[in-house]
Point group: C2
Amino acid sequence: MRVSKYLLSTQKETPADAEVVSHQLMLRAGMVRRNASGLYSWLPTGLRVLRKVEAIVREEMNKAGAVEILMPMVQPADLWIETGRWEKFGPELLRFQDRHNRDFVLGPTHEEVITDIIRKEINSYKQLPLTLYQIQTKFRDEVRPRFGVMRSREFLMKDAYSFHLDQESMDVTYDAMFQAYNNIFERMGLSFRPVLADTGSIGGSMSHEFHVLADSGEDLIAYSTESDYAANIEKAEAPMPTDTRGAATQEMTLVDTPNAKTIAELVEQHDIAIEKTVKTLIVKGATEEAPLVAIVVRGDHDLNEVKAEKIEAVLAPFEFADEADIRKAIGTGPGSIGPVGLNIPVYIDHSVNVMSDFGAGANQDNKHYFGINWERDLPQAEAADLRNIIEGEPSPCGKGTIALLRGIEVGHIFQLGTNYSESMHANVLDQNGKSKTLLMGCYGVGVSRIVAAAIEQNHDDRGIIWPKAIAPFTVGILPMNMHKSHRVKDIAEKLYQDLNDAGIEVLFDDRKERPGVMFADMELVGLPHVVVIGDRNIDNGVFEYKNRRTGEKQEIPFDQLLDFLKSAE
Amino acid sequence: MRVSKYLLSTQKETPADAEVVSHQLMLRAGMVRRNASGLYSWLPTGLRVLRKVEAIVREEMNKAGAVEILMPMVQPADLWIETGRWEKFGPELLRFQDRHNRDFVLGPTHEEVITDIIRKEINSYKQLPLTLYQIQTKFRDEVRPRFGVMRSREFLMKDAYSFHLDQESMDVTYDAMFQAYNNIFERMGLSFRPVLADTGSIGGSMSHEFHVLADSGEDLIAYSTESDYAANIEKAEAPMPTDTRGAATQEMTLVDTPNAKTIAELVEQHDIAIEKTVKTLIVKGATEEAPLVAIVVRGDHDLNEVKAEKIEAVLAPFEFADEADIRKAIGTGPGSIGPVGLNIPVYIDHSVNVMSDFGAGANQDNKHYFGINWERDLPQAEAADLRNIIEGEPSPCGKGTIALLRGIEVGHIFQLGTNYSESMHANVLDQNGKSKTLLMGCYGVGVSRIVAAAIEQNHDDRGIIWPKAIAPFTVGILPMNMHKSHRVKDIAEKLYQDLNDAGIEVLFDDRKERPGVMFADMELVGLPHVVVIGDRNIDNGVFEYKNRRTGEKQEIPFDQLLDFLKSAE
């Protein structure tokens, strides 16, 4: 591709509204443009990467025996009413009416549509197992779209759905998909990690996420230093306390703590260790009788919202209570709340359960109780795993200790069980002629998100550093002053032709631009290999080669370049 | 692909709700399934064809120098307000609001979005010309979706847009696109015709449609028997009458015609030649002062609505008046209307202008006037080309006579001029530093519609007959009683492996089905080549080969099959 016939559209300035580096670089490298909040056009350079990601996903899906289909973006509401998600799904589900006032949604996912197809097309166990997938545009009306295509409203996704007569077959396909996902990210040249995941609102029994590792990742991954164990911190089980609750040694006393709004301030200002304090968080309850619920974790621990959401009394999806409601019910605000004398349901983390002589808010403004003891000062509360695991704690797998990594979720696989097939009556006849409800799996890859995640992981201060497999072009040709030097022009044109003939994807910067501009653009766009052609090199019969990732430069004789590029990573 | 691991989903019965043969066969061959009115899922066999069509379109666009991008399906209303189409576009434009009550549309086309991108990215003549394209899902809220994917609401389209400084550059790109379109349909193995077209509501100065020829086509193509001239009948100029108006020889008389509601009945029941009659059609007017307009064509001619719409006094888009409004204004209904004494604007076709002593409705129920003459009996009306050209008339190109063909529109290219760039202020600096409004072209291909059109053109009573280039698979393997005969199984499996290794796409029917069922499915799905393997053939060391199009059968020795298939069309 000649730059003169292309839409390169690079820009020097970092756009003010782009918060994360991938969004900044995708704008600067001319990969995407924003059409409206959460809506992007993919310019040529971006689309080339997107299509490579898509092609790798497609190939690996096909290899794993999945069969490609294409379902519509616009879906009839009836199906969503059938599974109950028309009501349950929040405002992220974009609902609208057509010209005849019939209800539709813009599909954020396709469980309903695929189950509807399958219940009509599949009648017998002989047609099973079957895995269908599509690579298709989805829409989620995010309340606050952000980070460019990382969390956009319209996005490209690969979603696969598998159908089974029994759990054994489900497990075989799940494993095959797990392997296919490993292959996908491996082939893309990304550093990634499959992790145990919570099944969340989609439901089901077994689930893994695939994360591209990057310091900027929104997710925390807890992994064992000595085994394959890795889980989203949302899911990773915190270890049970090994010690038992100590006997009470202090009286419970009311302490004035006027300047202690946080645990950090409390322990700094008063003679109490952080491990002897608790945080009491008020969240929305699931019932009208108990619209507020208290969750208590140790002062040095973090609440795990996903674990908390599993408490029946807690509203799903998890939401903190509004401050006004808290004040009305408890008489004080966050900062002074504690479990003593609390008139709402209280749940405590296992580690809180073994505490004695501890401090907590007194449910009066600017006051805490110190020396609290269970049963003596307040009734025993129900304990559960409600906190995040911490780096250095023993791994739930029993081997090694936990270390943490940041990741960007780019894939998620689930065993759904009969969640959808039951409500939609997707049954088949088994070998004995008996009707059985289908088991389902579903398997998603965020195709457009991978592009952003790859950049978060692969960039430097000059721009993107593409892994070869998903680079928009493999090689850049930079002729120096081609419009003045016939020799440079001839050799550059010949090289362009030769590389094209060899099936290598080339971006040939044939603009009348200053070398500095051309170099900067090439580094920004991040092609793996750059070949510079200047009069000085020609005299020596060599090209000047530069590797984008290593920065290493070398001179390569004219006749050796093609072989070099073919074998270069 | 093994049928046992595929979703073949053929069906014997012709679905009752499918009116056209392509829709029937696409349902029966398991290519698509309806999710809701005008919304379809592409099952594996359909999607394979769709992807082949898409790939050919993409390759030819790239060859022609167009650069691929991808714009969103959801578009902000602002841009449509800017060009005025937010108001002008009918209810086919699906408008909706997001969770923040902001207005959006589901894109039926992308002139607004692309022009918005270009005005931001392109500032200088140096970046021109540029042609961008996308292959993307579109939505048109058709009032009556029909014929399956032929006129669905959600569909796949290739839309390209070109940008130019001057008309010369516009012409060069237009010609290149014209050629690319020829290549596309040629490569698909379809019989097609490029025809001059009306520019319609998109506007602009020059336009061609590409039609796949099929008896079931909705469009009529008028072409010259002796030149390259071909035009959509909407566009084809009818010849000017060569004779002049004859002198009046009859008195105008009022005739009772109680049983003559149509021209056919009139000429059958009364002594008047059809060429001496006129039809008076009442259509909606463009202004409040003249809400009804009369258009008069000769009794044996057909009104051309597209030509009529070009009269300033006629409402666009063209619409016939409601019968109630006609009765109220004229005092009679269709069947008795005529130009004599009519109190609304009257426009006549050129051929009506040269008539004398003619008959027409008398604007009284069940009465006609005979012997009408212009100027004597009614004022001279404005004449224009308002009728369809007729088979056998001289071609507008001056060579040969007109013949008619039926076609299905699958492509449409336009020169848009400054229609969009002006209202959206898409300007660049020219060589002299002066700001110039961009010239635009746009170029559409109905990707999903091509699949249906190809079937309309290529089928018989047993099913589809795919041209090789867009067949879902090239070869079908039909083993006879494989589950009983080890020999058949071994040879079938080996052939399957060999063909896969040779890069030939194969559908291997490994089901435990009766040969009759397998044959019928294979003919229905329409693969170009079918190889039958039975015990009898094995004894002779041959495969039985059947060509789907010709029906021709032949025996081919084992070791010659691969070469045969590679060279077979």
